[in-house]
Amino acid sequence: MTQLHARGLVKSYGPTPALRGLTLDIAEGEIVAVTGPSGCGKSTLLHCLAGILRPDAGEVTWRGHRIDTWSEAARSRLRRTEFGVLFQFGHLVAELTGAENVALPLLLAGTGRRAARTAALNWLDRLGVAELADVRPGEMSGGQQQRCAIARALVTEPRVLFADEPTGALDTVTGEQLLTHLVRLAGEQRTAVVLVTHEPRIAAYADREIVMRDGVIDHTGLGLDAPLAGGLR
């Protein structure tokens, strides 16, 4: 069943078009990889879908509600509750410990401090990094930071997780370990994942691969290696 629906998305940065009338549906629990060359509009598409950016034209609908017309505060609330966002560099808050970083979205939602910490510890444990609870990001490796970032993105049990090159700063082995965790945990709670990447091996984890070129979808498929994807999962 379609949860997130984008129709005719257009977005430009000054005279440079990034999206040129793109249409896309994301179903519940579906993992979609968005690939394509640099500058083809992958990240812009992700930002429009997540409500971070407003498209210049077209619409984004979440469970029947058009969200691109919502105020920024309303879209922020949506990202805090229904969506999760993950970036290439984790972007953890340097001054907070691992557990505090993971607990942050829950605290924002009004969860008590103790309950938020308990949930954060649980998620760190599920990602195999429980020992990072009281460690600052500056003392973590890139892979550890990214695991904390995944925990932070999933701690609110979002319906859609938007991941922008989540393994782009990691080595191949660490990146694949991370993806394995991400896909398993998302699958456990039926969270849809929109995964922007330019690495075919990463795209192979997806149910569906969308290849973009010059701001539009060039072609869609089960990824260039659906059997490999099945094998990796």
Binding site: S43, L53, S76, R77, T81, V85, A94, E95, L96, L104
Partner: protein
């Protein structure tokens, strides 16, 4: 690298670099103006004649009395403290972009020494431009303000010009000092082709030893009057030096103590933080408690001096009041005490207000720079749904939580030291000869004898009360200035949390 290339690379950069250079130049221009004003006061020639002869060409007693000019010049020079602090804070503006630019230069083959020279030259050139602008402003200003009144007297010493070599030294020394200071500050920084590495600063919890400095200042101030009485006026010059050391000790204690205050406030806030904003603020305060010392140094210094001045004012006001009352008892109902010192305190208050304003300008730079440095983390938080108001509130907590106790400690230290230096007021204890007749009779030596009586004016020892109103105005004004600057700084939060920030590595 040829000097031309060095100069061209030193002034290359983006809009933030340009803003940093403009602010640095502005600070240098202000500092030049203040130093030239002090030099001008010192350049006024002592009038010929016996001791106590005044320079009658000026309306202001601070300029007329040769004995007061040293103090006036010193007070003006003190104004350079917040101005130089502003320059120091400007140097941090756009630091991440500058770091990337310097790293790129290293990658292109520049040596570490060349990179240091580039950074120092940037500050030096901006300061030189500012100093020249300051000199031009001074020369134009002294022409425009040269307006003698009906008696041919001047409000400012616009008839005096310091020696040309002195002017040249000021204009050249300020940029040289600024460039040198930049080079010294870069000693703890290594610019590699892959980025800039800063040597770790002080780590661990700050100790409460800065309180000792304040205590030392208070103790020295308490001993000032007894020592002065026992040694007599011969050592007054040395005692003035002691007063200066006491003031510097107190300022240092308060400024460094802000690190301790920040750390303790951060721990308290962390223990009881129930919101993400307070949690973020608490962690930042305990992570880098010295940030408070750096940020508020100029403001706190101005408040220590301001509170000391408030104590002095209270003392002079009470002394005038006692003199007025005792003269009324003696029959001199029309007696009006000379309000010279109170007028002087008005000038000191004006200087403190100026210092607070300049310090507040430096705060804006610091707040904006803090936001700019963390912009990617902030942009990521906003992208994940964290409201900007949460980030703004955390910045507000981070600034205001330590500033309120720091302001109170600055006011307390300044007031207590000022109060101790001035001591209590002993007035009266004398016999007044009063002539109770018309002026004509009183001026006649024979007739006067019939109307003269002697009135005993008892000695009264009074302690001036705490000038709560003025202290509250000073502290409240400082907190409001901080609030306003944070408000202005937060205007930059939106642009610094734009999603584009996430695209840069």
């Amino acid at each position: 690298m040829s000097p031309g290339t060095l100069a061209r690379l030193a002034v290359a950069g983006n809009r933030t670099d340009l803003a940093r250079m403009v602010l640095t130049a502005l600070s240098a221009a202000l500092a030049t103006l203040v130093v030239l004003a002090a030099l001008t006061v010192l350049a006024i020639e002592k009038p010929p004649g016996p001791e106590g002869t005044q320079s009658e060409q000026y309306t202001n007693a601070l300029l007329r009395e040769p004995g007061l000019r040293g103090g006036t010049a010193f007070a003006l020079l003190l104004l350079t403290i917040p101005v130089l602090a502003l320059a120091g804070q400007c140097a941090r503006l756009g630091a991440p972009a500058r770091d990337r630019r310097l790293a790129a230069l290293r990658l292109a083959g520049a040596t570490p020494g060349q990179v240091t020279r580039l950074a120092a030259l940037e500050t030096g050139l901006a300061s030189l431009l500012g100093a020249l602008a300051g000199l031009a402003g001074y020369l134009v200003g002294r022409t425009l303000l040269h307006r003698p009144d009906g008696d041919g007297r001047l409000a400012l010493p616009t008839d005096v010009l310091p020696a040309v070599p002195a002017l040249a030294v000021v204009v050249l020394a300020l940029p040289a000092i600024a460039a040198l200071a930049t080079a010294v500050m870069l000693r703890g920084v290594t610019t590699t082709p892959l980025g800039v590495v800063r040597r770790a600063g002080r780590t661990g919890a700050p100790r409460p030893w800065p309180a000792l400095l304040v205590g030392l200042g208070v103790l020295a101030a308490a001993l000032f009057e007894p020592v002065r009485e026992s040694l007599g006026p011969a050592l007054d010059a040395w005692l003035a030096l002691v007063v200066l050391v006491v003031a510097i000790s107190a300022v240092l204690g308060v400024v460094l103590g802000t690190g301790t205050i920040s750390y303790l406030v951060g721990r308290l806030l962390h223990r009881y933080a129930s919101s993400p904003a307070r949690l973020l603020a608490a962690r930042r305060l305990t992570d880098d408690p010295w940030a408070g010392s750096r940020t508020f140094a100029a403001l706190l210094a101005a408040l220590v001096f301001g509170a000391g001045a408030a104590a002095f004012r209270a003392w002079f006001q009470l002394r005038d009041q006692l003199e007025r009352e005792q003269n009324q008892v003696a029959g001199f109902a029309d007696f009006q005490p000379d309000s010279f010192y109170l007028r002087t305190m008005d000038l000191v208050d004006l200087a403190v207000a100026l210092a607070v304003t300049v310090a507040a300008a430096g705060l804006i730079v610091m707040v904006v720079e803090g936001i700019s440095t963390r912009r990617r983390a902030y942009a990521a938080l906003v992208a994940t749904g964290v409201p900007r108001t949460t980030i703004g509130t955390s910045i507000l907590w981070q600034v205001l939580a330590p500033v309120v106790p720091a302001v109170l400690s600055a006011l307390g230290a300044g007031y207590v030291i000022g109060r101790m230096l001035m001591g209590d007021i002993a007035s009266g204890g004398r016999t007044e000869e009063v002539c109770r007749a018309s002026a004509e009779l009183c001026q006649d030596p024979v007739a006067r004898q019939n109307y003269v009586e002697f009135v005993q004016v008892d000695q009264v020892v009074s302690a001036p009360g705490v000038p709560l109103g003025q202290l509250a105005l000073l502290g409240g004004g400082a907190v409001v200035a901080v609030l306003a600057t944070v408000g202005v700084g937060l205007l930059f939060l939106r642009s610094n949390t734009a999603v584009e920030e996430l695209r840069a590595t």
